[in-house]
């Protein structure tokens, strides 16, 4: 069984309208339950906005502390789910469901086999 990281890419800025957000959260929690009962769910979590991030960067023997997210841009990771799946097709099928639930782009990326064991 391989493990896959499903990252949710969220545009910076204000959250969607409350009714919309409510529906999205309902769908996301329902999907989490579905993943749990299918025994593919490993971990998931939502993140605070990218502006709450702090970057630590090694430089000339020091570790610099920098305010803000690592990457510039208008979209950042807003949350992620880790699943186990036998192959990419299965992982993509769950990713598709997550994209539908969050209404946002999902990046599906495999973990190295030796990681986390």
């Amino acid at each position: 069984m391989k493990q896959y990281l499903l990252s949710v890419y969220q545009p910076d800025g204000p959250a969607p309208a409350p009714e919309l957000l409510q529906k999205i959260m309902r769908d996301v929690y329902a999907l989490r339950d579905e993943m749990r009962s299918a025994n593919v769910w490993v971990f998931s979590g939502g993140l605070h906005s990218a502006s709450s991030a702090t970057v630590l960067r090694p430089q000339e023997g020091e570790i610099l502390t920098i305010d803000g997210p690592f990457t510039e841009g208008k979209e950042h990771i807003g949350g992620f789910t880790i699943i186990k799946a036998p192959d990419l097709d299965e992982a993509l099928a769950w990713g598709r469901k997550l994209a539908r639930a969050t209404t946002l782009p999902i990046e599906v990326r495999p973990f190295r086999e030796d990681a986390g064991h």
Partner: protein, 417 residues
């Protein structure tokens, strides 16, 4: 024993490459292992075949030899115990020693769906398919796509790494996914064909090779998926287009339009085969875009002269095609049929009603070339000249540009009106 002509061994390996690699990928679960093993088998064949002769089933010999070499290699390189165990396991289960081709499993279908997986970019799908199923060398693929060798090699290495690391499966998609996944496979094959047919530039021989390779892949696919009429439709479409290759370029190297081609130079063998497939598809009555395009080409192939073309039938087929695959390009081609039936004014009206901006038709050379032709036939020479100039600007292809230039020049001499 008759001597084996030079190049014959390479020819056999090229022909059987996809089949051998596909079986070995299935056995070892790894593309690089499979390719190395087939390469090893080739080295042995070059040593042995000149004295032993070509075995009765080259595919069986290559697969057996390659598998044994791969097992040896696994043993030799196994610093890790699990690899050794894998080699022992494979050895114990290798009951594939056979000279009968019918006993060799055909795993190419799985491999082509892996190569054309939607998680890979189209350019990567094309390169992988040519490499793994077509047996083309990296250098040949690079030359065909005017890419530096190193870039193409890098692209293939990354693609194989993605297949391995991301876990792209070797599997024929299930019924629910099949239509969409098959569309991607057919698109890749047709892209390979067109790359060979539209002689935009590059090595002419390699390009002819690409078209032949696409037809070969479509034949393999139609053997393996005879229940899918669109696979047959694509094969028929390519055969009918290919049948006109010799007539498509004049003695001066310039493009010759369908209407002006010397129809005696068409390949009647290819036409007969293509038309037979189209008739077979019609009987099955499960139409799709490739089958309809093949049928349109079959109508052209039927006409002994351009004037004898059954344009009503062509128009009817374009109407059908618009239902299956609505696109401005199809609408543009439909307008050409309308021009033949109802005159250029009616056709021009249709073209001008297309959503030019939305589809960026303004950047498409055929949009301008077709408009120019209608304007020319309406006697609007100046408008036609402007339109030809735009067509020339949009074309990336030297032969096409030369052709358009000759059309534009003919306007000035009052020709063609």
């Amino acid at each position: 024993m008759p001597p084996i002509p030079a190049g014959e061994i390479e020819h056999v390996f090229r022909a059987e490459y996809g089949r051998a690699v596909a079986v070995l990928v299935r056995t070892f679960g790894d593309i690089d292992t499979a390719e190395e093993a087939v390469q090893d088998a080739f080295t042995i064949a070059v040593e042995r075949w000149p004295s032993s002769g070509i075995p009765p089933s080259p595919a069986g010999w290559i697969i057996t030899t390659a598998r044994n070499r791969a097992i040896d290699r696994l043993r030799r390189e196994s610093s890790r115990r699990d690899r050794h165990a894998q080699a022992d396991f494979l050895q114990a289960n290798s009951n594939l020693e056979t000279d009968e081709e019918s006993d060799v499993p055909d795993e190419r279908l799985r491999l082509i769906f892996t190569c054309c997986h939607p998680a890979l970019a189209t350019s990567v799908q094309v390169a992988l398919t040519l490499r793994l199923l077509g047996g083309l060398t990296t250098a040949e693929i690079a030359r065909a796509f005017l890419t530096p060798d190193a870039t193409m090699a890098q692209r293939l290495v990354r693609a194989k790494a993605k297949i391995r690391d991301a876990g792209i499966p070797y599997r024929v998609p299930d019924a629910a996914e099949l239509p969409e996944r098959l569309r991607a496979v057919l698109a890749v094959i047709y892209l390979i064909f067109n790359e060979g047919y539209v002689a935009s530039s590059g090595d002419r021989l390699v390009r002819d090779d690409l078209s032949a390779e696409a037809i070969r892949l479509a034949r393999v696919l139609s053997d393996l998926m005879s229940g899918e009429p669109e696979v047959l439709g694509l094969l028929a479409l390519m055969l009918l287009i290919e049948s006109r290759r010799a007539a498509r370029v004049g003695p001066d190297g310039h493009l010759v339009l369908l209407a002006d081609q010397d129809r005696t130079r068409w390949s009647h063998t290819l036409i007969a085969e293509g038309q037979a497939i189209v008739r077979h598809c019609l009987r099955r009555n499960r139409p799709g875009p490739y089958q309809i395009q093949a049928a349109i080409n079959a109508v052209h192939s039927d006409a002994p002269t351009a004037a004898a073309t059954d344009w009503r039938q062509v128009l009817h087929l374009y109407d059908q095609l618009l239902i299956f695959a609505p696109s401005p390009i199809v609408a543009l081609n439909r307008a050409v049929a309308v021009a033949e039936l109802d005159g250029p004014a009616a056709a021009l009206e249709l073209v001008d009603a297309l959503e030019v901006d939305r589809y960026h038709l303004d950047r498409y050379h055929l949009f301008h070339a077709i408009r120019a032709d209608f304007l020319r036939r309406l006697g609007r020479r100046e408008d036609a000249a402007t339109e030809y100039a735009q067509a020339i600007e949009c074309s990336a292809n030297t032969a096409e540009r030369d052709f358009l230039r000759s059309k534009a020049e003919a306007l000035g001499h009052g020709g063609g009106v």
